[in-house]
Symmetry: C2
């Protein structure tokens, strides 16, 4: 059967780690791919910035004329692996306008430009797949859009950035501070020369936007995502977390909130949070990723695997390529953008959450009472409080450290409380403020 | 748009735990489902053995005439939740012949009759979905058939039976023996009155057949799966496992084996195995399920969640229903059966595996040497050996216990070794033999 079918032509844009692996799989697994698709999958060309004979691909397959490559009549599927937002956006739009199906791993683009691209795909009646844009090899987009299509997703909490997870795991297991853990991550190739996108949570926020869009059938962009990075997390926070039976993870959280009147809103946010050690996300260490999903009927699900790297990301890209190719052969299309729900996105202040506050206070009677009063004034209930004496280098008492973990309150009430604490004379310093996620006692 | 589309009619066969939840979701989530499908999803009727007014569904929706229900012109999708193999098989075939798309959770049927049903679906050009047949709410079928469609699956190892996982978790955490852990499971509703299908591994074997078929593009039925149950696992095995840094899990294993000459074979097997505590499957406890996948490019993936129960299984069923309904509205079909690879299935004897052997021996010089000689004769290399003295009720030495863990060898060589050990005069008793899976040092 296979040999009689018209081949499906593929253009790959970008020949970095992922692009090279995609090209390799198309060539090495040609027979298997043809059998799975029902027609041969043929590489038509690779778009690169620099055409040269040392790229690991025959030089006559390379071109720096992206526009010409995506316009070829024998190209059915365009695989965009160039990043960043531009020139990827322009190339994808051009491909879609010419009725090519598109597969991309570009989370930054998908998180800002999803509406425009989805409309172009819709208009052209072609597929736009982006499984590899979130959590590398881990199937997340497809389970959310298809497997859970008959369920109501309540919450998605993901460890979706390998760099920060490596740094936090390292801080947890070795007691290292942030700077030296970052240096280790850089030395091992887990962090880029400029780590800002990872450590400040921009990468995770882009993925949170994509996940929230899909989970809640609402268009969410990166700008809608509340974001804090991991640069202020200290070894003392890990010590306190440990004492509370927790570790610290950078989480991308997408949540459906239902008011007492039944009004629904959603939240998408990224920040380092205390996670109880018995939560499935707590044991996801190093460069691994995991996405934890709670749905009304399904209950708790978790998807775990390698979130980055050439081969794992190429696996996700190739899954999309095979599905897009099958649709070309058999007719039909994959699921299109679903944004019918149009749920309002809640500002962080309205989100019910729990705070961990670590502060230095003067060592005198009435301090704990003054601190507790600030919580009580804003109706924030305290779950755990720990106070310990501090001594200076000469062994003299020089104050105390208080750690407070709250029950759930609105983020606004909690952050107001922290601001008020900072203004108290008896509080010398707020050492850190983190949120707590995933605890059952809320 | 939605309101102009012809409704998609659904017939549900079976009104047990899962069927009731499916009916509830179709009714409670009607607006969301219509928006996601692009047309209203309408329940046409429910097939039951006993029509009565106490079934939680209006009595005029019920019928005991399955044949008539699936033949109705206004039924587009038949959801089969009756089990067991018959009468489900007949109902599904009848539905497919009448060009209805079919969604089923029936693993026993899918594991014996997949070819026949797949052909009927192919002939009628309709969807046959069965996500709920393996691991309840956990998306496994769709990730394997779609997300990994461009990759090469090397291995699937799953905890796919909640009853046995509950029993083994209980034995591990409380030291209970098999009988009392089974009694607990029964009392909590985790085990059926006749637990044979679960504890003897038949349920897991059916799921292994389905997973192997999909992962390796080869038709595998339950009869092709090597199977051992958990009834002989003892508290002493758990104690030994602990000492070796392991726990014991009933695993469904599907593996691709490549000979030195590049010949490929596959294996599908179910047995209780020692699993290292640092393996992701080791921490999957209680009634939870998890499926661990290794693929060439993706590396290690794990899918975790609730493997049974009315609502979780209904979530998986409804995901399939929405996809089948979307295909009805938009045209197109989901992936069909893929069995092009037709890989030979290896008998258990040829499988490379590792054994754990626990035996009682007489306490005299030369015993360990005699035992070790039987392994050496068959070129089985020993990884760990532990010998400890046994004392009787009066505190007198009465022999010794030897625990051996081997490196990898063929299952045939290992089982021959165990048979030879049993014949040795110095071996009083082989207490137990288990395999070890998931250790890195093989």
């Amino acid at each position: 059967m296979t040999s009689h079918e018209r081949p499906i032509g593929v253009a790959v844009l970008g020949l970095g780690n992922v692009g090279s692996q995609v090209v390799r799989i198309i060539q090495d697994s040609a027979d298997d791919l043809a059998a799975r698709i029902g027609a041969p999958l043929v590489l038509r060309g690779v778009g690169v910035r620099r055409v040269a004979d040392d790229r690991g691909v025959p030089v006559d397959m390379l071109t720096d004329n992206i526009e010409e490559l995506v316009s070829r009549d024998d190209v059915d599927i365009v695989v965009e692996l160039m990043g960043p937002v531009e020139p990827a956006r322009k190339a994808i739009l051009s491909a879609l306008e010419q009725r090519k199906s598109v597969v991309t791993a570009n989370k930054a683009l998908m998180a800002v430009s999803t509406g425009e691209l989805a409309q172009a795909a819709e208009h052209a009646h072609v597929d736009l797949y982006f499984e590899a844009s979130v959590a590398g090899a881990i199937p997340v987009i497809r389970p959310l859009t298809q497997s859970l299509a008959g369920d109501t997703v309540l919450r998605v909490a993901g460890i979706v950035n390998g760099t920060t997870n490596y740094i936090l795991s390292e801080m947890d297991s070795t007691g290292a501070d942030y700077e030296s853990a970052l240096a280790d991550a850089s030395a091992l190739g887990y962090a880029e020369a400029d780590p800002t996108a990872d450590v400040e949570g921009y990468d995770a926020a882009a993925k949170a936007a994509i996940l929230a869009s899909i989970a809640f059938h609402t268009r969410v962009t990166a700008d809608d995502v509340y974001r804090e990075g991991i640069t202020k997390v200290t070894p003392a926070d890990f010590a306190s977390a440990r004492a509370l039976g927790c570790t610290i993870k950078l989480l991308a959280i997408c949540e459906r909130l239902t008011s007492d009147e039944g009004q629904q809103r959603i939240s998408a946010r990224v920040y380092p949070a205390l996670v109880p050690l018995d939560h499935p996300l707590a044991t996801v260490n190093g460069a691994f990723n995991a996405v934890f999903v709670e749905a009304e009927a399904a209950g708790q699900l978790m998807f775990y695997g390698q979130g980055a790297g050439g081969a794992p990301t190429a696996s996700a890209v190739m899954g999309d390529v095979v599905m897009a190719a099958r649709n070309r052969v058999q007719g039909g299309r994959g699921p299109r953008e679903s944004r019918y729900a149009k749920l309002p996105i809640s500002p962080i202040g309205f989100i019910p959450t729990r705070y961990y506050v670590n502060m230095n206070v003067t060592d005198q009677p009435g301090v704990l009472s003054a601190v507790a009063a600030e919580f009580a004034k804003r109706e924030v209930s305290i779950a755990v409080v720990r106070q310990e004496e501090m001594v200076d280098d000469d062994g003299q008492r020089c104050g105390a450290r208080i750690v407070v973990v709250t029950h759930q309150a609105t983020d606004a009430a909690l952050s107001e409380t922290v601001a008020a604490l900072a203004d108290l004379d008896v509080v010398q310093r707020i050492n850190s403020v983190l949120r707590m996620e995933g605890a059952t006692n809320e």
